[in-house]
Amino acid sequence: MVNLSCEQVWREISNYLEGDLDAGLRSAMDEHFRTCKKCASVLEGTRNVIRLFGDERMIEVPSGFGQRLERRLERSARARSRGWSTWSAWLVPVAALVLIAGGVRVASSLAVPAPLLSEHAQPARDVPGDMLVVVSAGAKDFHVAGCDFIHNKNKERTLTAKEAIEQGYVPCVRCMRKYLQTAEAGTIPLELEADEYHGAEGTGGTGR
């Protein structure tokens, strides 16, 4: 057994308490503590320090510390939720519009269009697919509900623009003019075309 000096023991006393010593050195220190009153006292005193300061009661916080912390965290959590809801409030409708627009474009690019019921009008372009429109028996165009140019109002039915387009209906040149292919081309005077068309149908021309 190695005999240790008191200085050697003090140098290692912290590692002894940590359990960070090889077995030989630990045994030598145990032997030293059995015979040296001062080193035994240093060991117990140091152990006492660690026990006391490691006790939760040694940590004192200012009065109301927990409540103030909780309130601040709650405010932060609410702000984070608001931040997300603000984003989501925008994101949801924007995403929905993107999906609808994309869906109509995809549908119109993939679907085989039915032959147009009217040879006068142009096919619809960029009409929102889920837009509710009105068609009537015997007519060839679809309208916004309440349009003056709806034929046979007692036989009208409501459907989506997508369904109307698939069935070969074309947009009314008056109420749906902004969706006409020709609207962008600007080569045909739309008012005239509309009047001529509806005038030919005998349902409310402009008296031209």
Binding site: E7, W10, R11, I13, S14, N15, Y16, L17, E18, G19, D20, K38, S41, V42, E44, G45, T46, R47, N48, V49, I50, R51, L52, F53, G54, D55, E56, R57, M58, I59, E60, V61, P62, F65, G66, R68, L69, E70, R72, L73, E74, S76, A77, R80, S81, W84
Partner: protein, 220 residues
């Protein structure tokens, strides 16, 4: 292996499945649960800030800032680390940054980061007696201990607080303070021996001499 005689207090929630569940839920966006998650550690977070800043108001502010930072970065927490250690490390970083900011422009001596190489000779006390843990119920005892801790040089105090009060291990303490594990061990030894001398000296000075537990009575 740690000495089984050492008291290493851990909050009941630490490492439990409840804690893991809370961490996962907060990471998924249930931020309102964060306070429940950190409540067991709020005192330790404050103590870590106080060990560095030595000022109650600044320490509370830094403790709150550290918690907010932890919440903001909760997704970066990985389960292989101890949650309490992660919180303490964030707090120490915040406190060190605060101290550096406040010292900017101040004329102050260069910090002594060197470890004392010389041997420390513990004092010999004829009348050493153990202070029982029950004595901590008494405010004056806690105050005397806090004063003893406060009298240590900063480099000793910080290592001691992180290892012996915050229960970080040697390597975690070294990583948190940006020093080597060898330095942690050297400073820890010195801090523990100095505190032992201060407390033992306290007996001689009568700090604890009127405590009822000496007579076996426990008024608390």
């Amino acid at each position: 292996m740690a000495d089984p005689n050492l008291v290493l207090s851990n909050p009941a929630l630490a490492g439990t499945s409840r804690e893991q569940e809370l961490i996962a839920r907060v990471q998924r966006g249930e931020h309102e649960l964060f306070y429940e998650l950190v409540r067991p550690y709020e005192r330790r977070v404050y103590a870590a800030a106080l060990a560095i800043l030595r000022n109650e108001s600044d320490s509370e502010d830094v403790a709150q800032e550290a918690m907010l930072k932890a919440l903001a970065n909760i997704r970066q927490f990985r389960a292989e680390a101890r949650f309490s250690t992660w919180l303490i490390q964030i707090t120490v970083n915040e406190a060190l940054m605060r101290r550096r900011r406040e010292r900017k422009g101040m004329v102050e001596g260069i910090d002594d980061h060197r470890d004392d190489e010389g041997e420390y000779t513990p004092r010999d006390f004829a009348d050493w007696r153990e202070i029982p843990s029950e004595a901590l119920e008494r405010k004056e005892v806690r105050q005397k201990l806090a004063e003893a801790l406060g009298s240590l040089d900063r480099k000793y105090r910080e290592v001691f607080v992180l290892r012996d009060m915050e229960q970080l291990n040697i390597q975690e303490t070294a990583d948190t303070l940006g020093i080597s594990a060898a330095s942690v061990k050297t400073r820890l030894l010195r801090a523990r021996l100095m505190l032992r001398d201060l407390l033992a000296g306290g007996w001689e000075q009568g700090w604890f001499s009127r405590l009822p537990f000496q007579k076996g009575a426990k008024p608390w």
